[in-house]
């Protein structure tokens, strides 16, 4: 008797007891759906967190964090990145941009108006890499940077504060006591958490001339390829620590460690909820076993008839085993559909990505079949061992 024959027979028997079959499958359905949802949301969340940490545009920030010893030796610097540092960093292979800046707080004045503002002296790559777009007026030119021209691009918030919404282009404002010409206004930041703050950007060279700032306080590297972030970050810190003769003052976030940390958290979560789902699957499996045992008893006479007609023990065993596998497999497939739907709803309403990989789906299918085999074996074995004569006599 072919496997296909057995499958058709099993489907018939499942259909003959629809309600009972569905109730039997329920444990499997819930278990599989729970696993799918948990894994989908877990993997989605992990991917989201990782992409957030990696930052936009393949960039990595270099930190300056001297050790206690070095602090005691008085090695601490407010603006730890020199012009030479930047040049060296730009020389590292596969670095596409080195973004450097230095910020200070100051007061901006226009005639009688005053506004507290942050002044950021930037290098040429800054606006592009940080995806700051000039909406009105013009952006900086290379000549502005080279010549240390006293020109500024201001934030939309500054336009509100100082110019009461009027166009500031061409106006001269004073930062501290130094006059600066406004040449552009930045696009308003969008997004839920973007607060427009009062800011002015000027070429770093101008900042040095105006305020006497000697070095950069912040450096971010942009690399060509996301995979290069970690090795190039490490290379950059080596270069900087060498240049400054420091042990480990220049650092980058270790992306791998953080990714590992996140991975660990999601693994723990997935394990916990996964084991709950596993228990549900176990209970589901026991339910299947229970119903299959009932089914074997109910069909004792059928088994006797089949045996009298020449069915071997193996054929009877296979018949009932296939039936329990079909039960759990259908339950598993319903569970996958239900779980995928739930994961989709969660990601839709919670704005949290969910990933359903084919590996998880395949795993769920195989696992539910495995449960069918594990919990179907006992009833099927019982069926196959029934004595044909006793079975034929069974009422």
């Amino acid at each position: 008797m072919s496997l296909w024959e057995n499958i058709k027979m099993a489907l018939m028997s499942v259909r003959a007891h629809k309600m009972r079959s569905i109730l039997t499958m329920l444990g499997i359905i819930i278990g599989v759906a729970a696993v799918i949802v948990v894994v989908a949301i877990g993997q989605g969340g992990e991917a989201m967190l990782k992409s957030q940490i990696a930052g936009d545009g393949n960039s990595i920030e270099v930190f300056y964090q001297p050790s206690e010893e070095e602090m005691q030796q008085g090695k601490w610097e407010e603006n730890p990145f020199t012009q030479e540092d930047i040049r060296q960093l730009e020389g590292i292979e596969k670095v596409s941009n080195v973004v450097a800046s230095s910020s200070e707080f100051s007061t901006a004045r226009l005639r009688d108006e005053e506004a507290e503002t942050s002044i950021t002296g930037i290098n040429e790559a800054y606006l592009d890499v940080n995806q700051l777009k000039v909406e009105e007026g013009r952006s900086f030119t290379s000549a502005d940077f080279l010549g240390g021209r006293r020109v500024a691009v201001v934030s939309a918030a500054m336009q509100e504060e100082l110019f009461e919404g009027e166009s500031p282009i061409g106006e001269i404002i004073r930062i501290g006591v130094q006059p600066v010409e406004v040449i552009g206004v930045l696009e308003k930041p969008t997004g839920l958490f973007a607060f427009g703050s009062v800011e002015a950007y000027i070429p770093w060279t101008s900042m040095r001339n105006m305020l006497g700032t000697s070095n950069y306080s912040q450096v971010t590297l942009q690399v060509q390829n996301a995979d290069d972030i970690q090795p190039i970050g490490d290379r950059a810190t080596t270069v900087l620590n060498q240049l400054h003769d420091t042990e480990d003052s220049y650092q980058v976030i270790n992306m791998e460690e953080i990714a590992q940390g996140i991975g660990q958290v999601t693994t723990i979560m997935t394990t916990i909820i996964g084991s709950i789902a596993g228990i549900s699957l176990l209970v589901g499996g026991i339910g299947v076993m229970n119903i299959m045992l009932v089914s074997v008893t109910e069909r004792t006479r059928e088994i006797g008839i089949r045996k009298s007609l020449g069915a071997t023990r193996q054929q009877i065993l296979l018949q009932f085993l296939v039936e329990s596998i079909i039960l759990t497999l259908i339950g598993g497939i319903i569970g996958i559909v239900l779980g995928a739907g739930t994961a989709y709803l969660v990601s839709f309403f919670a704005d949290w990505p969910s990933l359903i990989s084919w590996q998880v789906v395949l795993g769920a299918v195989l696992f539910s079949m495995l449960i069918g085999i594990a919990f179907g074996l006992l009833p099927a074995n019982k069926a196959s061992r029934l004595d044909p004569i006793d079975s034929l006599r069974y009422e």
Binding site: E302, L309, T312, Q315, I389
Partner: protein, 230 residues
């Protein structure tokens, strides 16, 4: 074709052993039509089950078609039941969820025949017992006589050399019984060996030979000895 040598069968009920068959030797030749008679509880069904390879004797040997089937393993016995023997039971023993056609196909399913061949031969078998227009009926849509015809069609569909019928007319009225027995006669004339268990003398009359069982032993015709059949 059938050769039983000193067959015994005993069951243990608690400490006591119940000896149902107590040493039966008999031979049935190919092409015979034999009736087994005897009072209720005498061991007729037990004997039939051993002949039909559904059960094994406790001691003794059984040769079916020159093969010592008392030494066969379960799997080999299943094959013998499938290929060489057709069963007909008093209670018909049809699968209630399957149509007449599907019921008749069952022995061929276990023989591994193709779907097409199964259907063809099942239709032929049903036509032979006069049920060509009832193939799609479920057992509970058929009368007792029709059910037994389906069972006979199922018994003969794998072309067995031996058909065993344990009280095949026990649940049928006289008229239907006659029709069923005529079917057995027809099958016997076509060469199939037939063994029928019955306690009705009218049924036994169809046979060429009658074997009497009493208390697990072969006996004489009780009528000749002035006894009484049940």
């Amino acid at each position: 074709m059938i050769q039983l040598e000193d067959i015994t069968k005993s069951y243990s009920l608690g400490k006591e052993a119940v000896n149902v068959l107590r040493g039966i030797s008999l031979e049935i030749k190919s092409g015979e039509f034999v009736a087994i008679m005897g009072p209720s509880g005498s061991g007729k069904s037990t004997l039939m089950n051993i002949i039909g390879c559904l059960d094994r004797p406790t001691t003794g040997s059984y040769y079916l078609n020159e093969e010592d089937v008392s030494q066969h393993k379960d799997q080999e016995l299943a094959k013998v039941r499938n290929q060489s023997i057709g069963f007909v039971f008093q209670q018909f023993q049809l699968l209630p969820r399957l149509t007449a056609l599907k019921n008749v196909e069952l022995p061929m399913v276990y023989a591994g025949a193709s779907k097409k061949e199964r259907e063809e031969r099942a239709r032929d078998a049903l036509a032979k017992v006069g049920l060509q227009d009832r193939v799609a009926h479920l057992p509970n849509e058929l009368s007792g006589g029709q059910k037994q015809r389906v069972a006979i069609a199922r018994a003969l569909v794998n072309d067995p050399s031996l058909i065993l019928a344990d009280e095949p007319t026990g649940a049928l009225d006289t008229e239907t019984s006659v029709a069923i027995m005529d079917l057995f006669v027809q099958l016997n004339q076509e060469g199939t060996t037939i063994v029928v268990v019955t306690h009705e003398p009218e049924v036994a009359e169809y046979a060429n030979r009658v074997i009497y069982v009493r208390d697990g032993l072969l006996g004489q015709n009780p009528l000749e000895k002035g006894g009484q059949t049940q």
